[in-house]
């Protein structure tokens, strides 16, 4: 999970505007159902949770399950009433959390 997540959202928006946010993160999403060449099960290792907050308030969150393919792409909409910072967090099965931030300004 060392790679930087890819995030796309507008740099600025009008007050009350609904914007689209796109995120893509690099992850193997090992389901736990597969076996290696020796026949031993490969342990599950997935991103199990994604959250997005805006100025500390939750905007969007979801639980991810093993059937989701590698490099999960998540897209959602959010309404922007004030300028501030979107905080994104992807939680791995091993407990590590990958985070990212994007600022957005209000159009004059």
């Amino acid at each position: 999970m060392a790679d930087k997540p890819r995030i796309k959202l507008p740099k600025e928006a009008k007050k009350g505007e609904i914007i689209q946010i796109k995120t893509l993160v690099s992850h193997l999403m090992e389901s736990g159902q597969r076996k290696d060449a020796q026949g031993k099960p490969i342990p599950r290792k997935i991103i199990n949770k994604f959250t997005c907050e805006f100025n500390g308030k939750p905007v969007f969150s979801c639980v991810l399950e093993p059937a989701i393919s590698a490099n999960p792409y998540i897209q959602f909409d959010a309404r922007v009433d004030e300028e501030g910072t979107f905080k994104f967090a992807w939680t791995d099965d091993d407990g590590s959390v990958l985070t990212a931030e994007e600022k957005i300004a209000l159009k004059a």
Binding site: D3, L24, S69, A70, N71, Y73
Partner: protein, 274 residues
């Protein structure tokens, strides 16, 4: 008035019939480029044109396209020092955006030193072992496929332009021979599917012309980038043959020949395919 309505009805039913045909045979939508004189195809069509609109959309958006994860990873590796010489790719080549432009579109290329053609993967490893004194990357490794994708990405949109004359011509002929040779228990040659039957629906999929302009390609099936020689291996395995080894002379000759079959197509790396 009644005559007018009658002819309108005929027109409407004709239009319906036409649209039914158009949705059934997707060929109508497949855009290609005219092939040069003496080429095997009249129109050269990228594999992109054979994919669903959802798969195309994934390739078209640089943020959604998962192949760009590899491009970004390799962009960092490009600047990272490795090996006994204390060099990175950047030490010799500078900014990849400038110096690597067009390089990937012209591979495989003749190497005077080795007296044979080399492809992009081989050239990267030659750089690593000779100039950086670093360990070569294994074929199919994430590192090698990432870097191959990154270098080829610098040629995105440029036409495939391999040289097939001069010392390359025996390799070209060898590749052609492999292309038309039936192999495996299913007794199929590359040409059986990709030349004679492209555009047809088979194994729940549309057969493409087998073009290489999008490689390494992000395959949704594998959920990762797949280099060209792995795809060659996969095809030979599917016809129940014994595949040649990746980076072998046979696959190198085939890579050259197949690149020529797609000459002029824009490089699409990193493309997205099934």
């Amino acid at each position: 008035m009644s005559i007018r309505y009658g002819s309108l009805a005929v027109l409407a039913s004709a239009a319906l019939a036409l649209s039914a045909v158009a949705t059934f045979g997707q060929e109508a939508e497949r855009k290609g480029i005219p092939a040069p004189p003496g080429h095997v195809f009249k129109t050269i069509i990228s594999g992109y044109q054979f994919r669903t609109k959802e798969t195309r959309a994934l390739q078209d958006d640089d943020l959604e396209n998962p192949g760009f994860l590899a491009v970004e990873r390799a962009a960092d590796v490009w600047k990272t020092v490795d090996g006994g010489e204390g060099k990175s790719c950047m030490s010799c080549h500078g900014e990849a955006e400038k110096t690597m432009k067009g390089v990937g579109a012209a591979m495989p290329k003749w190497s005077e030193k080795l007296n044979k053609p080399v492809n992009l993967e081989q050239q990267i490893n030659i750089c690593r072992t000779e100039h950086m004194k670093a360990q070569p990357w294994a074929f199919k490794s994430k590192e090698l496929t990432d870097m191959t994708t990154f270098v080829r990405f610098q040629s995105r949109g440029m036409p495939v332009a391999v040289k097939t004359d001069g010392p390359m011509s025996p390799w070209f002929e060898k590749g052609k021979e492999i292309y038309y040779t039936r192999v495996g228990q299913l007794d199929l040659a590359c040409a059986s599917c990709h030349e004679k039957n492209n555009g047809k629906f088979m194994r729940a999929d549309f057969l493409s012309q087998g073009q290489t302009n999008g490689f390494p390609t992000y395959r949704l099936r594998d959920q990762r980038l797949v280099p060209l020689h792995e795809r060659f291996e996969g095809c030979m395995f599917d016809v129940r043959g014994v595949p040649y080894k990746p980076l072998s002379d046979e696959f190198l000759a085939l890579e050259l020949y197949v690149a020529w079959r797609g000459i002029g197509l824009p490089v699409e790396t990193p493309s997205v395919r099934n």
